[in-house]
């Protein structure tokens, strides 16, 4: 006999599971151009609504509308399209390389290309990103050589990380790309610390933190908001809400009636949600937030609303936990297509030029891949040495490691 007033546990579930028909009609999508653009020095209390809306620029007709439009020149838009197409081609080739056994692991960006590619264009030399494994667009759009990325992915003899790291865990100081950690969210508070350091030294550089929707549940997320808000650190904190965290949907991390962006409100941090599949919107919001940071006005929290079209990684198969057709039903569309359409509407691009560009980009990626493979792949050809394994634990190798290296005979 059930007790009166008995409690029960609520466990959030996505609306649809494999076999069901995807339905995002309950996801409120504000019209492009409808969200106001406040001054960057606005009182955070005045813009709490922005944490519950979605800033969008490109409308269904492919036009750029509203107060957030106009932050990019025609050339910049064309370049942006190329970056996203390059990242997509890069992903496809590396995904295949992993299937061919040339490396152990890969993680792609399908559907999320706009987020990192567009954000990168709001940054200046010297700024520092603290990325996750799904922001390679920061490197592509920042001009980091693809062949270096591939050398890392292949753990070959030219791998800048000497074979020590899992594929895609790039690091480049020059390109403002902090060493990716396999441990989720640790980098978020580090971004705040880096920004604090810049402020302590009266520098002009800013930091950018990155985290996924699922990983916002980790403790480092809280520490980052606490420190960013207390010290008004010049940092932009990005949340890439791609709806999924491996097999769990965003409701497991989000809960209740909040949004991920709204987590900033309790700290008095301006919080914005942006259409992450809209290159123009991401760029505009990135501009706004980075300007706030540069003007010493403090941190901004940005939730990029997007969708992870592919599997979590090459170790994952999403058909086990979500309908295959879900990505097609996703109401914010595909970032590459949307920017392409916009450029066509603007008369700056055509289907033909797009095809041509696709072919050119593929050639470039393949050329890079050939070069990288000439330096080896994980199980064949040139590779980092066992000696490299013992180096770099410390600046100077202490006696016990020297003994161990000797014992290993390398």
């Amino acid at each position: 006999m059930p007790q009166k007033n008995m409690l029960s546990l609520h466990v959030p579930e996505p609306e649809v599971r494999p076999g069901g028909t995807p339905d995002f009609s309950n996801v409120p999508i504000p019209k492009a151009g409808s969200v106001p653009r406040p001054e960057v020095n606005v009182d955070p209390r005045a813009i709490r609504d922005l944490a519950y809306s979605i800033i969008r620029v490109l409308n269904r007709e492919g036009e750029a509308v509203g107060p957030w439009a106009g932050t990019l020149t025609d050339e910049e838009l064309l370049e942006g399209l190329r970056h996203m197409m390059t990242l997509r081609a890069f992903d496809a080739r590396m995904q295949m390389a992993q299937r061919q056994g040339k490396t152990s692991f890969y993680m792609q960006h399908m559907g999320e290309e706009a987020v990192s590619c567009a954000f990168r264009k709001a940054l200046l030399p010297g700024d520092m990103n603290f990325p996750t494994y799904r922001q390679a667009g920061l490197l592509i759009a920042g001009g980091y050589p693809m062949v270096e990325m591939m050398n890392q992915i292949y753990s070959n003899e030219r791998d800048p990380l000497k074979g020590r790291q899992l594929p895609v865990m790039y690091a480049s100081k020059e390109h403002g790309f902090f060493s990716i950690s396999g441990n989720l969210t640790t980098q978020y508070i580090q971004a705040v610390g880096w920004a604090m350091a810049s402020a302590i030294r009266n520098d002009t550089k800013i930091a950018v933190g990155w985290v996924g929707d699922g990983a916002t549940a980790e403790s480092d997320f809280h520490a980052a908001l606490v420190f960013a808000s207390t010290y008004k650190a010049p940092v932009v904190l990005n949340i890439v809400n791609n709806q999924w965290a491996i097999s769990t949907f965003q409701g497991i991390a989000r809960g209740g009636s909040g949004t991920f962006a709204a987590r900033g409100l309790g700290f008095g941090i301006p919080a914005l949600r942006v259409d992450g599949n809209d290159y123009l919107a991401v760029h505009a919001v990135a501009k706004w937030a980075t300007e706030r940071a540069r003007r010493n006005l403090g941190p901004t929290l940005i939730e990029h609303v997007t969708y992870r079209v592919g599997a979590h990684s090459t170790s994952d198969d999403p058909s086990a936990y979500r309908p295959k057709e879900e990505s097609a039903a996703w109401p914010l569309g595909d970032p590459v297509l949307r920017l392409k359409n916009h450029l066509i509407v603007r008369g700056l691009w055509s289907e033909e030029r797009h095809k041509q560009a696709e072919a050119e980009i593929l050639d470039t990626v393949i050329a890079a891949q050939k070069e990288a493979e000439s330096h080896g792949t994980l199980h064949a050809g040139g590779k980092p040495s066992a000696r490299d394994m013992f180096e770099g634990v410390y600046a100077e190798m202490p006696p016990h490691l020297r003994r161990q290296r000797q014992q290993a005979g390398v």
Binding site: L9, V11, G163, L166, N183, A217, E218, S219, I246
Partner: protein, 337 residues
């Protein structure tokens, strides 16, 4: 008797425990609907409902902290940390809380819970999918630390852990999930279906915590091993032809010191192997105990064969892994010493 993989055996242990006791709940990242990235909890949500087996937010602190609260209430949570490499955010809850609640409250509150986590390398998982952090738990008074090496033990030890009145760290060598692995990464692995220890009785049985087992009788040297290294030790004994006695410790804390001492007193020599880094690894404790208790019987220094004192590298995985060649070398040196 049915043969099961280690994954199936572990799943079976949870299934049996959940069936037997409504207080057993299972949760963690991706463990609910999906059944875990290694599929250890597959089907449990379907069978026992979403409030007995569910997905958790990506917060190891939250998973363990919530489990502690549940254990204080009277449940017996068995939670999964997706990889042992990701346990550190929960370390405070484990060390300062789970391990000490019984003691500090003089038994007013207790913490019967299990934290399962895949451990060890050999899958090209790089520094964040390969670690063996057992020694970071064996130093903590109030915890128990278990490392099974085969499906039969995995099921029995996991049931015993779930039924234990105190918190248990349950480390699952992921390289053993599908078959025993002797460190010869270039040879095909025997599946558990072909290995006698893949025989897993149906239903409830439990393997007592704190009891080691001799995997190979031998006269010349004692090898202390656990998890994957049991098979590496077997291969090394085979290949060197040295008549090694191999002890599978199974539980590191509390340790079956009697079994260890009896064997080393008999053989007079001892090699300790583990995959974790050398310095302050659990091998240090084993060596310290063995020299203390078998000083007069020891004919050679105790050797430790372990992972090197570096993070677990990606490309150099097989240079890092303490395989049969290195164990064999240590056996020979120990015999010649």
């Amino acid at each position: 008797m049915p043969r099961k993989t280690m994954i199936e055996a572990i799943r079976d242990a949870m299934d049996v425990s959940m069936g037997k006791d409504d207080n057993v709940v299972v949760f963690g990242e991706d463990v609910g609907y999906f059944g875990g990235v290694f599929r250890c909890t597959q089907g449990l949500q379907q069978k026992y409902g979403v409030t007995r087996c569910f997905d958790a937010p990506i917060s190891e602190l939250g998973i363990v902290g919530a489990a502690i609260g549940m254990a204080a209430y009277g449940l017996r949570p068995c939670v999964e940390v997706q990889f042992a490499d990701y346990v550190y955010p929960a370390y405070d809850q484990i060390v300062s809380e789970a391990a000490r609640i019984r003691y500090r409250s003089n038994g007013e509150f207790t913490c019967p819970m299990v934290i399962r986590m895949p451990t060890g390398g050999g899958i090209f998982g790089g520094q964040t999918h390969s670690q063996s952090p057992e020694a970071l738990f064996t130093h903590v008074s109030g915890l128990k630390v278990v490392v099974p090496s085969n499906p039969h033990d995995a099921k029995g030890l996991l049931i015993a852990s779930i039924e234990d009145p105190d918190p248990v760290i349950f480390l699952e060598p992921k390289r053993l999930y599908n078959g025993p692995f002797d460190g010869h990464h270039d040879r095909p692995v025997t599946p558990w279906s072909k290995h006698p220890l893949g025989e897993v009785p149906d239903g409830h049985y439990s393997t007592p915590l704190g009891k080691a087992v001799i995997r190979r009788q031998g006269a010349d040297v004692t090898i202390l091993a656990y998890g994957t290294m049991v098979y590496v030790a077997e291969a090394a004994a085979e290949e060197t032809g040295i008549d090694a006695e191999i002890i599978d410790l199974r539980t590191l804390l509390p340790l079956d010191l009697d079994a260890i001492v009896a064997s080393v007193k008999k053989t007079g020599r001892c090699v300790v192997v583990h995959e974790a880094t050398l310095t302050s690894g659990f091998g240090a404790e084993l060596a310290a105990l063995v020299q203390q208790h078998c000083f007069y019987e020891l004919e050679a220094p105790i050797a430790r064969v372990t992972g090197w004192d570096t993070p677990y590298p990606h490309a150099q995985e097989w240079d890092y892994f303490p395989g049969p060649a290195r164990v064999g070398q240590a056996l020979r040196e120990t015999m010649e010493a």
